[in-house]
Symmetry: C2
Subunit: 390 residues, 2 copies
């Protein structure tokens, strides 16, 4: 199966910049601190209305109509409702399976957060903190959680597979992400305990998780492992016959190309994607089916200024005052980039666009100009993303 999919990010795992109204009146930068600044009633009201409106049955019909065949659904570690004050969301995932099966889409369940966080990103549960791997109890909780997900959905027709854990931040990318600066921890002491997820730990964890999941999930369903931002490091991993239908997931954003020194121009991006992303995907496809589980058309060039690797007003970085390009010019830029990126992902086993939907307002808040390239439907609507040929 060649995967053509979108991520349903910000539905069950929040990102402040994607739906700022949920965070209104608080200084919380992430989902972890949101309930500490709202009454229980208001917190629950916001979360429940958000979940009931952000993604519904109609979105599955729309995604299907855009020639996609899969969705990747980020879920939080508190999905089963056993970690107050956070509200569980297993009913939402249940519904999603009904919708996916009705409209002919496959779901990749993506465990997007774990207790203590595996990366310290704002979308990793708690900003600036990366301590999960150091605590055996939290690791054990995570293994049990994965097993519960596999038991509940393992044989569902609408299941594509389960991704063990999203974006564990290993030493390879630790310095370049510089999370303590980019996502400042609220609790400095906790921030200081943060360390990269060790490769040796991650390998063991993936094997343990594979065995837990596979017990309840037939081999037609995939186990997906994220590369920990160290794509080429997995050539000697899980090559034994015990491990069946394991997909390697790599996330490749143009802003990461920029951080690696890529020229901020269409030609620069296209060459970088071709020479680096596409080549590496070809190389790693000898060992695993490879997907690009997160990518998008966003880039500094189309924004009209250097975003320093995708930093926004949330990171204290100002945006531009006005569009740098006309709508026709932007269309040409994005179409070129889409072509190059899709070609790279299709050298492997496909992709999931990040993200299906965001609630940005680029008209009322000019600082978000250019950021709507993260919104798949908006890209489709404006002809930036060529759904017919993707």
């Amino acid at each position: 199966m060649q995967i053509k999919g979108v991520n349903l990010g910000n539905w069950l795992v929040l990102e402040k910049w994607m739906s700022p109204a949920l965070f209104e009146g608080t200084t919380a930068e992430d989902e972890y601190y949101l309930p500490t600044q709202l009454s229980k009633e208001v917190y629950e009201a916001r979360i429940k209305v958000h979940r009931s409106e952000y993604i519904t049955e109609r979105d599955f019909a729309i995604i299907k109509s855009h020639h996609m065949n899969a969705v990747r659904i980020p879920v939080p570690y508190f999905i089963f409702g056993d970690c107050p004050p956070f509200l569980g969301c297993i009913e939402e995932l249940d519904k999603a399976f009904g919708w996916a099966e009705k409209y002919g889409l496959q779901i990749l369940i993506d465990l997007h957060t774990v207790p203590g966080s595996q990366n310290g990103f704002d979308n990793g549960g708690i900003s600036g903190v990366c301590t999960w791997a150091q605590d055996p109890k939290k690791v054990e909780f995570t293994l049990e959680l994965l097993e519960k997900l596999a038991r509940r959905y393992g044989t569902r027709a609408g299941l594509l597979g389960i991704e063990i854990v999203n974006e564990p931040l290993t030493a390879a990318a630790w310095d370049s992400f510089n999370i303590q600066e980019r996502y400042k921890p609220v609790d400095e002491a906790l921030g200081k305990q943060s360390r990269p997820v060790e490769m040796a730990f991650l390998r063991n964890f993936y094997v343990d998780a594979y065995r837990k999941i596979r017990k309840y999930m037939p081999v037609e369903k995939s186990v997906v492992i994220h590369d920990g931002f160290d794509f080429l490091a997995w050539k000697d991993f899980m090559q034994e016959t015990e491990f069946e239908n394991v997909i390697l997931d790599t996330h490749q954003y143009l802003m990461m190309a920029e951080m690696a020194g890529c020229a901020q121009s269409v030609e620069g991006y296209v060459n970088f994607v071709k020479e680096n992303y596409e080549e590496e995907i070809k190389e790693m496809s000898r060992y695993f089916p490879v997907i690009c589980g997160e990518w998008c058309l966003f880039n500094s060039y189309a924004c009209g200024h250097d975003t320093k690797g995708g930093q926004s007003v949330l990171n204290g970085m100002e945006g531009v005052e006005a569009e740098a390009f006309t709508m026709e010019e932007k269309k040409v830029i994005y179409q070129e980039l889409a072509k190059a990126q899709l070609q790279a992902w299709n050298a492997g086993n496909g992709y999931f666009y990040w993200n299906y939907k965001l609630l940005l307002d680029t008209v009322s808040e000019s600082s978000w100009i250019g950021w709507d390239a993260w919104d798949f439907d908006k890209c489709v609507a404006q002809g930036w993303f060529p759904v017919e040929h993707a």
Copy 2:
């Protein structure tokens, strides 16, 4: 201008069946009683998150991509925030103008509710009550409100026009809607005071409102009057030269055809639309530009049972257990109906589909099977609505 548009219903004026989560844990059937059963904080949290998520910039890009050129935006009488406990929503309308102007859409502002209600529908502000026209103070409030809207938006590039008041229920349709049964009033005494809006009153009101609005709105912008469900009664109205660019709006649903005795079959609907709706639109087009400001593909036949004029579980009417038709069969049915209806509306000056979006879940709640034909984007996604040829 031939109007091709959609209604942004349930964004600023709620309808319970379209986003049930907003009403969860209450027995309120309409927006009027919702804040009486929730704390101020929870009410505000629900409404604010709903408004921030239901319609955003991306929807304007999507609507434009579906070859539409206009949106009709229902607004409540408390839009300016001067009727506690209801929350004003003028900022949302301001934003909508920015989005419309960016993506090249025109906005028809539709005053959808008035104090005391002009129709007693659940979407008219207060179910089972129709007393507005009897109270001169409420009528005066409404005229001032219309003037304020015209003053604020009258010269905006994104303004198509202002519709004076949505669906005033006159004697012609009073018995067939039978609102006291269909939308039972909470306050029986108030229900008993309800009476049809008198034609003589309505004509005077339209003239007064026209003069208030036109003061601030150049003649390129339209004043839209709803026919009060008495379409042919307006031949001698506003034909004088004083009244410029007045559009007559009629709402024509297939469920209303059913109530008038139309056979529940594709042939039955097509013939009824052709012989009645299309002919009447042609007739009235001699007096006004005519639009069909609300219609949709919904019908009992595709639902698989007689809905008795579009009554749902909310009216105590059970739905079906399973789909009566395959997806392919439904597509054929809806395409035929769309063709006939679009031909009728285009015999006049176009249309607004009702509605752009709903949050129905037909998978988890089978009683809503068939009701997703009210959702424009879902109709487009499933090929029910031929956007390219509309």
